[in-house]
Amino acid sequence: MSLQVSDLRVYYRTLAGDVKALDGVTFSIADKEIMGLAGESGCGKSTLGNSLIRLDGRMKYVGGSVNLDGAEVPIWDDNDMVPFRFREVSVVPQYAMSAMNPTRKIGKMVSELTESRGLRFREIKEELDRRIDLVGLDRDVLKRYPIELSGGMKQRMVMVISTLLDPSLLIADEITSALDVSTQRAVAETLVSFRDHGFVKSMMVITHDISILYQIADSILIMYAGKLAEKAPTGTIIDKPRHPYTQMLVSSLPEVGVRYVNKKLAGIPGSPPSLLDPPTGCRFRARCPFAFSKCLEEPPFVEVDTDHSVACWKVSGPDA
């Protein structure tokens, strides 16, 4: 077990009160596993990603524990987290396009960064070059400034930097959403190759685009309104989802070949609940066609099949 997260709670401080963006999630990622994390905007997926590496000013650790390769990860303490960052946990952020200092040559920045983490840049330079080749960049990008690179190039460069120290866990946050389909594919496949080359042990790919996950992820975790809905191997999530939300979500996605005239798809009526004071019980209740009295109680996230967990009374059975 590479990563274990249990009952993690992280809230957002706002004037209106705490937004329970992450309200008790428990899951694990195995070695070599690429786990896709999907859900609608506001479901807490990015909060989950961020909280594993750095809580920003507005985020508040409330409870739960994170365990990486058997070691406790002190996500609540910014300073104690430092040794873990970059070496153990690393991130390719949403904002990869602007993640590099515009006024520093990329190479200089990387060297200053690594030196500041107590490494000799000379010693890792070779590996750095190798990886730059691997992602199909020219080695002299290191002598250039970020604005001299195209969007796709920046994206790839940041991926190389983030994984330079072979972290055990890599968090990739919406990294394909800004890109064109063709580049999208290249970037996604690069992620996989990083795993295959052993640059990263396991990976958490956060995106709103499930079809991307189908292409690259081993397992998919679906979040809804700050809680986990379903986790299963990719194939299962796409073909045999159990949670009503997952089912409706997957069936609402158009794909090449499906046409309005032949097969009219349908979305999910309604919208997610407010996370300021979320409803008790199942949070999908209001939008769920199968909702029944039991749903007023919170459904546990239980394993209903091997590697397949669901939080739904209909699936786990009212007596679960």
Binding site: V181, S182, I212, Y214, S252, P254, V258, Y260, G267
Partner: protein
């Protein structure tokens, strides 16, 4: 009917208009009433530019756009109002489509003040109710709210409703669902398709082939400002011929087919040995018309299916069709 005829857009770049930048080159297609035309391309393909030219938000450099035969470019000054009565648009970002400091239904008020100034309040609110019903919105839920109090889906529906206030013939929908959540986007897409029954012509601009394929009758694939392939949707997707079309198809993430599989399928001749005879000559990211070089003309390879590709001369095409 709205028709584009060899429409081009060239930007003068550099402080004193040093060099030219060709954003759109010789694009021609029609939008008939009750028809959805999807304009598919990646960023920089000029798809949005085309949309904006139709909406007269950007001037045309050469070529012409006509609405029911009347030239659009020549419309000036106050004459644009009647035009906008017939041609409207909805844009990608629901949140930037609303002035954040005003209530969302102000978009209706603007229409009222510019087009229905005389109309009685009661009559107006009936009109509003009607259009809101048409886009399946509950007036109580959406009126009198600020943009950030509404969901992306609701905002986009409001904009469609806004367009319906006018008796429009053509609606330009530029990436209108790309920023919506998966669970709600399809409904907006369906709504758009339903508008066809009103005899509305829709220009559906998107980067997502599956969406274009889902909703449209006609597909135009744009690359670097040029049409590389166009025709009836089922033909373009059923028998993708241009290498670039194939590249797109092979990279669009699908739900039940892995990339590798799709690639294999595309590599194999489509439709029982037919299809692009020259695909072998190209790697999927194959050689494509470069701006500047002499352009391949669009060639008809079958009814309602045109391809712009160098080695696609008529004689070979004859063998295909």
């Amino acid at each position: 009917m709205l028709s584009l005829n060899k429409v081009s857009k060239t930007y003068k770049i550099g402080t004193f208009g040093g060099q030219d930048l060709i954003a759109v080159r010789d694009v021609s297609f029609d939008i008939s009433p009750g028809e959805v035309v999807s304009l598919i391309g990646e960023s920089g393909s000029g798809k949005t530019t085309v949309g904006k030219m139709v909406l007269k938000l950007i001037s045309i450099s050469s070529g012409s756009i006509t609405l029911d035969g009347a030239d659009v470019a020549s419309i000036r000054g106050s004459a644009v109002k009647p035009y906008y009565r017939q041609v409207q648009g909805v844009f990608q970002d629901p949140f930037s489509s609303y002035n954040p400091i005003f209530k969302a239904d102000r978009v209706f008020e603007m229409i009222r003040s510019e087009y229905f100034a005389g109309m009685a309040r009661s009559e107006w609110s009936d009109k509003i109710d009607a259009v809101l019903r048409a886009v399946t919105l509950d007036p109580g839920q959406v009126l009198n709210k600020y943009p950030h109090q509404l969901s992306g889906g609701q905002l986009q529906r409001l904009l469609v409703a806004r367009a319906l206030l006018l008796d429009i013939k053509v609606l330009v929908a530029d990436e209108i669902i790309s920023m919506l959540d998966a669970s709600t986007r399809i409904d907006v897409l369906n709504l758009l398709a339903d508008l066809k029954s009103r005899g509305l012509g829709i220009l559906f601009i998107t980067h997502d082939l599956s969406l274009g394929n889902y909703i449209s009758e006609k597909t135009v694939i744009l690359r670097r400002g040029e049409v590389v392939e166009m025709g009836a949707t089922e033909k373009v997707f059923g028998r993708p011929t241009h290498p670039y079309t194939r590249l797109l198809l092979s990279s669009v993430p699908q739900l039940h087919k892995k990339w590798a599989t799709i690639e294999a399928e595309l590599a194999a001749p489509i439709g029982g040995g037919k299809g692009c005879l020259f695909h072998d000559a190209y790697p999927l990211a194959g050689r494509n018309p470069q701006p500047g070089s002499d352009e391949p003309t669009l060639v008809k390879i079958e009814d309602d299916h045109y391809v712009g590709c160098f080695d696609l001369d008529s004689e070979k095409v004859a063998r295909v069709a």
